[in-house]
Amino acid sequence: MNTAEVYRIDWLPGTDVLHGVCHCGAEHSAEDPVELWQWMLAHPDGHSPAPLQKGTAE
């Protein structure tokens, strides 16, 4: 069973980059899982729906 509120983080192969997708569609990348979860859970703060603003590694 899946509910609507699903967060996803992909560790991009061949890199140290984690790419996160919020349930709202906003995306963000980081090289630190703590930072990425903090961003994810700050929803909706700092979340703009993709593809208007693609997240970039900080």
């Binding site: 069973m1 899946n2 509910t3 609507a4 509120e5 699903v6 967060y7 996803r8 983080i9 992909d10 560790w11 991009l12 192969p13 140290d16 984690l18 349930h23 090289e31 630190d32 899982p33 703590v34 930072e35 990425l36 979860w37 859970l41």
Partner: protein, 376 residues
């Protein structure tokens, strides 16, 4: 870049949740003691009858109301428990039906009874407000009781907080180092993971798909595969208790068919139940189910013994880790990297469930009138 973060010293308990207390086979006509979320509980099975040919599992608070003697150290008289100290006798609801030497049984003479569900060969107990217990919320592990699968399993107590076992199971990169030569190969630690959190369902999924990996002895000897393999590990953690690892093993390059069937792979369902016992002890229930060589006793024995060794390696490591953490100063720090993405998600879900469990208990307190206490 990685970062130093502060570790929560101890993972809080999530009340108002279902927990695995035992395998069904462990509960019979002898009283069984288990402490779950710091609550001592005595389990037993009622006598079989035509409606319940295997009896039903009863869970009562493991302290006699009289002088707190453990009921688990007592005896059964039919479906009643007779305290081994002074004979206070309780029925399956925890109501005292006999006290020695007098006719009047005090109204307060009862022990708590816990909601219990026996499902998929596991005995689940509800820890929290019984009025909130919903059996439909118990996650499933159907292969444990499916004749199409052969299962081996056991339980190992660990002298560590349950959060350490959650950490351990959510990050399987440790297989490469702690379980090398058993289930670990270099590819496990090297392969990136995908993490998904279903917030509403309280499920954390972590997937690691290895396309071309060394076959560890655990799978080489049980499947007979020689050479490199495709190895998929798909974790599904139903917080707080049930952890499922869907393991798919096939010769390298062999994938499921277009129609979704997967006849050329070997499937192993690895089930853990992570049941907090006390603040610094946890029950580690483990089971390995396979859909191949189901009748091969040699494979059954091998998988049992081999996996028990692997679990014991975790037990030893977590016992040691807990001892080390016990000597740390308050507010000590740890470091999280990419492999910890799933473990961090699990910690957060557990913290949320713990907070919600307390809140639900509080809400119930405000809506339920206090029980009348009669003078003994």
């Amino acid at each position: 870049m990685t970062r130093v973060t502060t570790l929560l010293c101890m993972t809080a308990f999530a009340r108002n949740q279902w927990y695995v207390a035992a395998y069904g086979r462990e509960v019979g006509r002898e009283l069984l003691a288990r402490t779950i979320l710091n609550e001592p509980i005595a389990f037993y099975r009622t006598e079989p009858n035509s409606d319940e040919p295997t009896g039903t599992v009863v869970a009562l608070a493991d302290r006699c109301v009289h002088r707190r003697y453990p009921l688990s150290a007592s005896r059964l008289d039919g479906d009643n428990v007779v305290c081994g100290y002074h004979g206070f006798t309780y029925d399956t609801s925890g109501t005292c039906v006999f006290v020695p030497g007098q006719k009047r049984v005090p109204r307060t003479a009862r022990v708590a009874s816990y909601p219990v569900v026996e499902q998929d060969s596991l005995v689940w107990v509800w820890i929290g407000d019984p009025a909130l217990a919903d059996p439909a919320a118990i996650p499933r592990a159907p292969w444990l009781a499916d004749p199409g699968w052969t299962t081996v399993g056991g339980m190992e107590p660990i002298d560590a907080g349950y959060g350490l076992l959650v950490d351990n199971l959510m990050d399987l990169s440790h297989e490469t180092y702690l379980h090398g030569g058993y289930i670990g190969t270099p590819e496990v630690a090297e392969t990136p993971i995908t993490t998904e959190v279903d917030e509403g369902a309280g499920i954390v999924r972590v997937s690691r798909h290895m396309d071309d990996a060394e076959c560890p002895p655990f799978y080489a000897r049980s499947t007979g595969i020689e050479g490199r393999i495709t190895r998929w590990q798909d974790i599904e953690y139903h917080a707080p208790c049930l952890y499922l690892l869907h393991s798919r093993i096939a010769p390298a390059g062999v994938l499921p068919e277009a129609d979704g069937s997967d006849p050329n792979a070997f499937h192993v369902e690895i089930t853990y139940a992570i049941t907090p016992s006390t603040d610094q002890t946890v029950y580690d229930f483990w089971a390995v189910s396979r859909d191949f060589a189901q009748d091969d006793d040699e494979v059954t024995t091998f998988l049992h013994d081999f996996n028990r060794t692997v679990v014991r390696q975790d037990v030893d490591a977590l016992n040691l880790l807990q001892k080390a953490l016990d000597t740390e100063r308050e507010g000590y720090q740890e470091l999280s990297i990419n492999i910890d993405t799933g473990g961090l998600a699990a910690r957060r879900i557990l913290a949320r469930l713990a907070a919600e469990g307390e809140q639900r208990t509080g809400e119930q307190r405000t809506t339920t009138p206090p029980a009348t206490v009669a003078a003994p």
